[in-house]
Amino acid sequence: MTQPEFKDFYILLPLIILTAWACVLLLADLFIPKDRKGITAFLAVLGLAVTLGFVVTQIGQSGAGFNGMVTLDGFSTFTSALILISGLLGIALAYGYIKRMGLERGEYYTLMLFSITGMMLMTQASDLIIVFLALELLSIPLYVLAAFARPNLQSEEAGLKYFLLGAFSTGFIVYGTALVFGATGTTSLSGIFTAASHNAPTLLLTIGAALLLVGFGFKIAAAPFHMWTPDVYQGSPSAVTAFMSSGAKIAGFAALLRVFATAFPILSVDITNVLWVLAALTMIVGNFTAISQTNIKRMLAYSSIAHAGYILMAFVPYGNKDVVATSVAAGLFYLFAYVLTNFGAWGVVIALEKSEGKGLEISDYAGLAKKYPALAAAMTVFMLSFIGFPPTLGMVGKFYLFRAIIAGGFPGLAVIGVLTSLVSAYYYLRVVVNMYMREGDPTIEREPWLDFTTAFTAIVTVSLSFVPQWLFLLASTAVLRLF
């Protein structure tokens, strides 16, 4: 054990800044008058932006800190930046929404910041204890946020459900950690790798890893651990759902990849098969169940499950040193496209949502194109991007992803991927059909930040698909630092 030095703190610098900022904001919020909570939102955005700035300065650097408890590498930088962008977009969506829904309380933004610190720690965690710590830090504020619309019953139900199932899944992770510790005598990821590589994997280690996988499966909402998702996503305030379905997923994927690629390459023979099945099942279940949804929030919930399946595909060959870099880069690229599209789509949902859960049926979108052509066009872009249709980033993402999967030697999985994409076209198109081809008289809420988010994500989704080079470069430099 060595004493922490400056370089240890440097590795966690963005995280430290954001944590401090969140604590200060929690106090400062007490002095901000009730009718001017916009200031809190502004301060939160400022904090995230500054943190993002520090993350950007860390591009290309790598190192381990605090005795190998945390790691800084291209992967953590990329995912942290993506999480911070999610936070910024999440606040932009929430700003007008929580005011309109009568939910405006300062702690909303503070809770978001704390959750984001948890997510960022998750991307850097290279010790199972830190993973656990980060998981709790990101989850607990989210449980509160899910129930933020109390005493709305649906929101309370969402909060409770999320909490109970979240706690359950954390139990898996803790138990898995304990078993792995029992098998190897350490919780450090690199230590586990060294200990496990000396002899053949024991049953204890395998079970421990499997339990960890189950726990992460809950967090990223992979089938068959996805049961909580539709109810929670539907019940939570839409702005929270938008943030949850992006940020929490990024963090979950980050931890999943780091833990398995660093600690358990030795188990890859078995785990790769398990991941294969999980990815296939998630794509199939998510897409097929989405077909029968009539509520847009539930539909997007199932769609997010389906997309978790696509991203999971990228992690299937995690133990194969030759292809893992490419396929992880493809996964991250897809994650970026998904996050952007997801926020845009939720922005449209929020624009149409009325109080008491009205305006959330897909049939409520009828006639949108005639009255609000720009909004309908934006939604069409998001739907096409979800399907993977040009000219959108989703198409480039799917191309990259399928390419990595085929190069990785899993053409069967790629076939399942494209066939389920076809299925997804059916339900995404239904939104387009309603907007353009049916008569109706929808009304929307116009808020500058909401409009900005929707327009911004739509424009970026389209224009980046023509010049995806720099995103490719960023994603392909986002490699794991394997000690």
Binding site: L422, F472, L473
Partner: protein, 495 residues
């Protein structure tokens, strides 16, 4: 930015200028919007004629190449790569010709959301031109998929009563094929470390068993688009529900994207698999020819009749392509153009009378000739062209195809051509049946009910270019064959 000044870039993306202008116009200024769209498509047509003057007919290679590295990171070698050769030049011209004609045909037919209609129409033109010009698989795939989006809206927004069903069916069917092609494209990209088609063809050497899979994956996308029997069931729905201009483009150009795909990708990329598959494709094509013709005859709806006749006609094109000899392939390319001209004309004419009567039921028509002699005469020419009467374009194409198919080594048996020849006779049956029901005999109920007016000048002007070309190709096809022949010769070197 140099690539922007390349002739083919200008040609492909010029319609976007019109889109931009229309975007900023008041949606109530319908006539102005129509004029802008018309002007844009006419200039695009002019640009395509300019490209034709730059094109050297005797050169069998890709010409006017615009090749720029586009995405070149992380092991991707994707080019922005447009070029034209004898296989595609006529299809490009057909596209740029049919688009202004279609725009003109909507002048009074489309009154609702004119602005959106024209935007989608111009976007569609960009997509179609891109498909015919792209020489990079990734770029091709983007254009190929992109054409779906505007067409989906054209059917779904301005179509008939079952338009939503037809639009979604069209979208899903086509996508089902193209996603398999996507996997094959990715495989090829990994294999050749490039997505450039000429480089992949030059590299060759794909193992025979893999070739078959790739062939099937590409064929799935193209066969649905053509459509080949038994994958045709989206076509009647899409055609019947689409607005007239949509049907013209659908039959005239979009179906050709399928046959063109076979020509551009399957035949040069997978020679072994092509030879193996040729008899099977010929079999499906023959079934399609007979089936399409028989089903056409049974239709009560004129538009459906013409729609099914496309299945039959494109069967001929497929038969010619997989004859894999110079006659067959040249005839097939010419027949693609012929089908675009004659079926395009038929859809336009049906649209013109539909605008007045609002019905397409064959049985309510009758005796139209007396009231609308000009319309009748033009319809007769188009019908005869479609059924392949000597002296008109259809004959030249079908005759050359059958000649090629009879002597084809690849198909292996003259029976396919023999049976297909029956299809020519059957075409005469259903086309003349349609003509007789509509134009001859006693006046039908619709003819009595409506005060039908003969074609006006705008309508005659719409159809005139097509008629001129029908006669031109019918009497003197040599200039067209001269454009095609060198590239076909090069294509078939390996066979």
């Amino acid at each position: 930015m140099e690539f922007l000044l390349q002739p083919l870039t200008l040609l492909t993306f010029f319609p976007l200028v019109g889109v931009l202008v229309i975007l900023f116009m008041n949606s109530e200024a319908k006539n102005a919007i129509r004029w802008v769209a018309m002007g844009t498509t006419l200039i695009t047509f002019g640009l395509s004629l300019w490209v034709l003057t730059l094109f050297t007919a005797s050169n069998p290679n890709l010409q006017l190449e615009a090749k720029y590295s586009w995405i070149n990171v992380a092991g991707w070698n994707i080019y922005y790569y447009l070029a034209v050769d004898g296989l595609s030049i006529l299809l490009v011209l057909l596209t740029t010709l049919l688009t202004p004609i279609s725009v003109l045909s909507t002048w009074t037919a489309i009154e609702d959301r004119v602005k959106d209609f024209m935007i989608f129409f111009l976007l569609l033109e960009v997509g179609m031109l891109g498909v015919f010009l792209a020489q990079d698989l990734f770029l091709f795939y983007i254009f190929w998929e992109f054409t779906l989006v505007p067409m989906y809206f054209l059917i779904g927004l301005w179509g008939g009563p079952r338009r939503i069903y037809a639009a979604v069916k069209f979208f899903l069917y086509t996508m089902a094929g193209s996603i398999l092609m996507l996997l094959a494209i990715i495989w090829l990209g990994n294999y050749g470390n490039t997505f450039s088609l000429p480089e992949l063809i030059a590299k060759g050497g794909i193992p025979a068993n893999v070739q078959m899979w790739l062939f099937i994956a590409f064929a799935a996308a193209f066969a649905i688009k053509v459509p080949m029997w038994p994958l045709h069931s989206w076509l009647p729905d899409a055609h019947v529900e689409a607005p007239t201009a949509g049907s013209v483009i659908l039959a005239g150009v979009l179906l050709k994207m399928g046959t063109y795909g076979f020509l551009r990708f399957n035949i040069p990329l997978f020679p072994t698999a092509t030879v193996q598959a040729a008899p099977w494709i010929a079999l499906l094509a023959t079934i399609g020819i007979i089936y399409g013709a028989a089903v056409s005859y049974a239709q009560a709806d004129v538009k459906k009749l013409v729609a099914y006749s496309s299945v039959s006609h494109l069967g001929f094109v497929m038969l010619g392509l997989f004859a894999l000899n110079a006659q067959g392939v040249s005839g097939a390319i010419l027949q693609m153009i012929n089908h675009g001209l004659s079926t395009g004309a038929l859809f336009l004419l049906i649209g013109m009378v539909y605008e007045q009567t609002h019905t397409r039921e064959l049985k309510v028509y009758g005796g139209l000739w007396k009231i609308m002699p000009v319309f009748g005469a033009i319809m007769l020419i188009s019908a005869l062209s479609s059924m392949g009467l000597p002296g008109l374009n259809g004959f030249v194409g079908e005759f050359t195809i059958l000649l090629g198919a009879f002597g084809s080594k690849a198909i292996g048996s003259p029976w396919y051509a023999g049976i297909s020849a029956i299809g020519v006779i059957m075409a005469a049956v259903y086309i003349l049946y349609m003509f007789q029901k509509m134009f001859l005999g006693p006046a039908g109920e619709i003819t009595k009910e409506h005060e039908l007016k003969d074609l006006n000048w705008r309508e005659i002007l719409t159809i005139a270019p097509l008629l001129v070309l029908m006669f031109w190709i019918g009497f003197y096809p040599a200039p067209f064959f001269n454009l095609i022949a060198p590239a076909v010769g090069k294509l078939l070197i390996g066979y």
